[in-house]
Symmetry: C2
DNA sequence: CGCCAGCTTGAGCAGCCTCAATGCACGTGG
DNA sequence: CCACGTGCATTGAGGCTGCTCAAGCTGGCG
């Protein structure tokens, strides 16, 4: 694993409230001493962790990153897909056999917190931001648990597709079909959905025959009627970056919130 | 859903560092204005949420609580079992169709944060505690995802049993068999493991025939050789209440930590 | 042009689910 | 005290979903 991983050092500041895609990322980047720089990762390269032992946060700018766990015997489970705008954080992905890696050539912002200790008040903001991030990740993980525990293959693929459309789909007009470029292989999808690649392929073919999706190529597809697709998707994953449900003591901590 | 749910109002203070079972619970209970009281829940009763709309934290003192999601068509997925000493928190379990309920008669501590707003510094401690709780829950959820996505039935049941032994098992001597009272039905186990009750029963019978567990009754069992059981359990859930991996900015925030 | 990785499709099989019958413990009421 | 109902656990038969193995197929790239 190369040490410097071909990083381009291009430090810059995150402009709070404008350039930043996610509110909690802004909070992190706004911490005094936080350093933000652009880094690149090639396909298959691990994000964070491999280097100096310090743990950074990353924001995907382009490309796709997957958090995954790999067991001793090689079985692989994808925990999450991170698409442009998403935060890649080391929370939970610090366990043995668990890391994040780029599924394609990827550009990221690296947010490193190693400046002077924060003043009173800033510490609360920082912890609040970390809490919020962990909370969003937790909500996503719980949806994933329900999906793997109680949905059949077709439902899982439908949930996955609908989630992808909402996250990275493009629509040319208000009633036009959604266009979607799937940035991962059938095997990646399978490892996320607790299936295998052949089964995913078969299910996609079935959805294709049913007219729910159209494929121009294995990775380029169209969803003519998102509502129809979502009728097959009994759970709705929390969209990445959406503000989580009110934290339990938000009201109580009113003035401590950013 | 009754308003007061047969609660016994018995306010008391949590003694930080001694009586408390969990460090982060102590942090919550130590927040100025936090009110701790003992409440009781009957089997099947929901924990929190149903009442005034305020969200509390709970600590299980005896009995068992399960966090669960139920889909529109009735499919049920258990998210976690909470055994004595565990924290029951509203994080993630605030989504639609998602709540915690007592699996048997249960005694809990209710920690309610509604006092005067905390002073500077205390807010940071509180958010840090909330972060830590969310982080532990996240680690547990990710293990659950791997289990449901990539383990077969026998492995899931083995992971579950080993987890239960480590959490609520009793051992009469250093080399004696572990004794375990399972506080949930086969169906509860199945809904946690993404299986059905008959399959769980069959797998337990197989483990019984293999000499890995012995059953005195459906709920009372013995594990003569925990290492043998764990050889069938390819993942190890993070034990409840164990301090999570170093939060990413712990070093940076050194003096803000409790 | 050939190679190779990834995708698709098929055949056969294993694991898990569904449905059903039975057994057991417990509580209730005659 | 016993008969009965109820809820849960167990076990079996049969079927379906998804996995394994294998054979094409396709598109990108050297």
């Amino acid at each position: 694993m190369p040490r410097d991983e071909g990083r381009i050092s291009e430090p810059h500041r995150c402009k709070v409230g404008s350039a930043c895609v996610r509110r909690h990322v802004c909070r992190l980047a706004a911490v005094p001493g936080a350093e933000v720089r652009t880094v690149r990762a090639a396909k298959g390269q691990r994000i964070g962790g491999a280097g100096s032992g310090s743990s950074c946060f990353y924001v995907v700018r382009s490309g796709t990153v997957a958090a995954q766990a790999v067991m001793a015997d090689g079985r692989r489970q994808l925990i999450a897909f991170h698409t442009p705008g998403d935060l890649v954080c080391p929370l939970g992905v610090g366990a043995a056999g668990c890391w994040a890696e780029a599924l394609s050539a990827t550009v990221l912002w690296e947010v490193r917190l190693h400046g002077p200790a924060p003043r009173e008040g800033e510490a609360a903001r920082l912890w609040a931001a970390l809490f919020e991030i962990a909370h969003v990740e937790l909500a996503r993980a719980l949806t994933h648990v329900v999906m793997l525990g109680r949905l059949d293959g077709t439902e899982r693929v439908s949930v996955f597709l609908a989630d992808m459309v909402r996250r990275i789909g493009r629509q040319s007009g208000p009633r036009a079909a959604w266009r979607l470029s799937l940035p991962m292989s059938r095997e990646d999808m399978a490892d996320y959905l607790g299936l295998n690649a052949e089964t995913v392929s078969r299910i996609l073919s079935r959805l294709k025959k049913a007219g729910i999706v159209r494929f121009q190529s294995p990775s380029e597809c169209e969803v003519p009627d998102l509502a129809l697709l979502e009728r097959h998707a009994p759970v709705r994953p929390a969209l990445a970056g959406i503000t989580p449900a009110e934290p339990p003591s938000e009201r109580y901590l009113g003035e401590a919130c950013v």
